[in-house]
Amino acid sequence: MPEGKSEKKYVPEISEKELQELRETIKVNSIKLMNEYLERIRKTWPNRPENMKYFDEIANFFGVREKEIREAKDEGKKVIGYTCMFAPIEFILAADAIPVRVSSGFYDPAKVGSRIVPVEVCPIIRSTVGVKMIGLSPFLEYSDAIITSLTCDGMTKLSEILSDYKPVWSLCPPRVKDADQAALFWRQELKVLKENIEKLTGNRITEKKLSEAIKKVQRATEAFRRLQKIRCGPPVIMGRDAMLVNQTIMWDDIERWTMKTIELCNELERRIQAKEWACPPDAPRIMITGSPIFWPDNWKLPNLIEEAKPQGVIVADELCSGDRFLYDPVGVDEWIMHDMFNAVADRYLLPSTCPCFTSEDGNEDRVNWLISRIKERKVDGVIYYIYRGCMLYAMEYMRIKRVLDKMGVPVYYLDTDYTREDVGQIKTRVEAFLEMLKSRVEVEG
């Protein structure tokens, strides 16, 4: 479906001039904000590792990485975008294409998106629609096709809206994932996806290519998990920096990212030896769970936590844009096509903690993930982060709170939107929460 030719299902006619104007102003704002956020990260942690510079550079949406992808595209490489972490990047890599995540964290386009999508809908959806309307995100623009996942209602309709612009391949994860028929269905879904990728790129996903891709991602997973392991100890890296590293994988070159992350881990391990902590080791250790937080704009909560008085440090998150993204490896039993394919399929469906799943025990995978991460990272308090309109996460709050109460871990429910207006209010809440954690730690200590 070539752009702009067929009849649009959702997108209204907007003059190119207006779009241009919106794009220019929002782009300028976003770049300013991105730099401001990076500056604030540096300010909080003046003694930042040398290796973080690379990630700062990659974090720039309109910088090195954009240029690289543009050049690769000129050479005939295909770019495949995806919205949720259900999209198997191994297939994309095996077909010699570039995977990029296109869920948007830009604030201002959410308002533009509201022209199509009601304001009650989660801001990620609104912002992604807005970003596509004005053509802001280079990664979304370069995508030759987009893999969407029909996880929540927002994502389902987002696929339709995006299909006004680009070919969209929708993956439908079965909502009861443990059932035998679920695995059959999901594998069929991925089989079709694999064929689509092959057709688009013109490259066959051979056994050799797929096994190389799996190993490539496994190496990245190794580095990724190493970084998360470092976060288990006293704070040697600030949460925002770790989150930035975790996010950049979603659009960076995976091999280079792996190399740089390993270097960063080496540096951090040297700092552990020297006991050079990034912040006072008695700072409350926070975990964020809930709706995904996306760079560049949506850095509100992490900023507040780590710049607050008393200062907190984010040691873990349960976000599909963070700790969850590369945590689970693909476990291949027999290195033949059939088993590799099933292993990839299983990895993207079964360990997922997305609240779109349900089971008799009430999404216990998420509960278990939280419990084990809280124990492993010695979390003092959990912030349950929700966007207005993110039904599934909001509704699961009571379930999670029960479990955490039983563990004696305080949890604070925070709901917000893609706006900067409520920073003051959120700040009061976050600081009160941190203060509470701090006094608890002092009393217990």
Partner: protein, 403 residues
């Protein structure tokens, strides 16, 4: 002369032990891929076990038995007389080890023992049974069999199935062959697996009843089926009816024949009755079942293990109450660390799903062959672990890490 032989045998035994130890050490050191380490170790132990099970083939005189079921088999002489000073009382079973038929009785499959002892040995003394002189009376032997099966099953559960059983090795090798041919395996539906699992107990019951029925002349004094009286044309074949079906028997016989421990001519010449097309030691039913299992195992991993009555017997004594409480070897799962990624379920050769489905705690079942592939492939630290008497001896770990 005899002393020299003993010394020779001891040296041979030492060589075997050192090869085993060196092999294990080598695998532990040289295999860097953590997802393959235990698998290679297991394969090595399985391979080493084959000659060890037929120990007589390596140590001691390779004398061909003149008339196999009669007299002492090579391994009786070797491990019994030559090493321990006197022949073993025959019929000392270790589950899932050697077949009775090829040449000996010292280490014997419990399925045979159960059937055979039911049949002719209720009355003691010479002249009963198959005219074989046994040193121990039947009841005592049966007690030994049951006792040993229970003890071993309690100690190690179905560990033998995964790590020692030669037929298991046969199926594993078929799987490796299939992988090398780049052909996918198939999975049986869960319902079929459960049906197979449950039918094992029916199979045991059926063959035990058959044993009694066929041996009715000796046991009850009434001949229920014609031709089953001593010397009758069905007599020799049906005393141990399960063995006439077992796919392992022809493999064992062929193995020993191929090394020369059995006389091929004898094996194929001693034929009478309706099953004799393939000879006394290998019935045509055996061959058909073996052929089906071979083809089946090429498609479904460890197919026979899902139905094997010998495994079921061990399973009963290790996985059912009250034995479950005292069983020493078990796989434990930490529910909190489990992300339900499904790897354990997918890599399990006999397709046991409990390791995935059960929430936590003891996840071993009677279908689990303790091959430890699930623990080896589990990517989360300390989520799955093998426990011996509640002490973890092998834990799952992040196998991505090289060191």
């Amino acid at each position: 002369m005899a002393e020299i032989e003993i010394i020779q045998n001891i040296i041979k035994a030492l060589i075997i032990v050192s090869i085993v130890l060196l092999g294990i050490l080598g695998i532990l050191i040289w295999v860097k891929d953590k997802t393959k380490k235990v698998s290679y170790l297991r394969l090595f132990i399985q391979l080493i076990s084959v000659p060890l099970i037929f120990l007589g083939l390596i140590i001691g005189p390779f004398g061909l038995p003149q008339y196999p079921p009669v007299g002492n088999a090579p391994r009786d002489i070797v491990i019994g007389t030559k090493i321990f000073g006197r022949p073993f009382p025959d019929g000392l079973p270790v589950p899932i080890l050697a077949c009775w038929y090829p040449s000996g009785r010292t280490v014997t499959c419990p399925a045979w023992q159960m059937q055979a002892y039911v049949y002719p040995f209720w009355r003691e003394g010479p002249g009963f049974g198959w005219g074989v002189l046994y040193t121990t009376p039947g009841i005592e032997r049966l007690a030994i069999v049951i006792g040993l099966v229970v003890v071993v099953a309690l100690l190690l559960g179905r560990f033998f199935c995964g790590w020692v059983c030669p037929f298991g090795l046969y199926m594993d090798l078929l799987s490796r062959l299939r992988t090398a041919l780049k052909k996918p395996y198939k999975s049986l539906p869960k319902r079929a697996n459960i049906a197979l699992r449950q039918s094992r107990y029916i199979i045991i019951a059926v063959f035990m009843i058959l044993s009694v029925m066929l041996g009715a002349k000796d046991i009850l004094g009434v001949e229920l089926i014609q031709g089953t009286e001593r010397g009758g044309y069905l007599y020799s074949y049906l005393s141990a009816p399960y063995c006439q079906v077992c796919p392992m028997r022809p493999l064992c016989v062929l193995a020993e024949v191929s090394i020369g421990a059995m006389n091929a001519t004898f094996v194929f010449s001693h034929t009478t009755g309706i099953f004799y097309e393939a000879g006394y030691y290998i019935t045509s039913i055996n061959m058909i079942v073996l052929a089906i299992t071979t083809v089946g195992a090429l498609v479904y991993r460890r197919l026979w293990c899902r139905i094997c009555p010998v495994g079921a017997l061990t399973g009963i004594f290790s996985r059912f109450p009250p034995f479950k409480r005292v069983s020493l070897l078990r796989i434990n799962k930490d529910e909190e660390k489990c992300t339900k990624c499904g790897i354990c379920k997918r890599v399990c050769p006999p397709e046991v799903t409990e390791v995935y489905e059960l929430k936590g705690g003891d996840v071993t079942t009677s279908a689990c062959i303790l091959c430890l592939r699930c623990i080896e492939m589990c990517p989360y630290e300390d989520c799955l672990r093998l426990e011996f008497a509640h002490k973890p001896i092998f834990k799952s770990r992040n196998w991505l890490e090289k060191t």
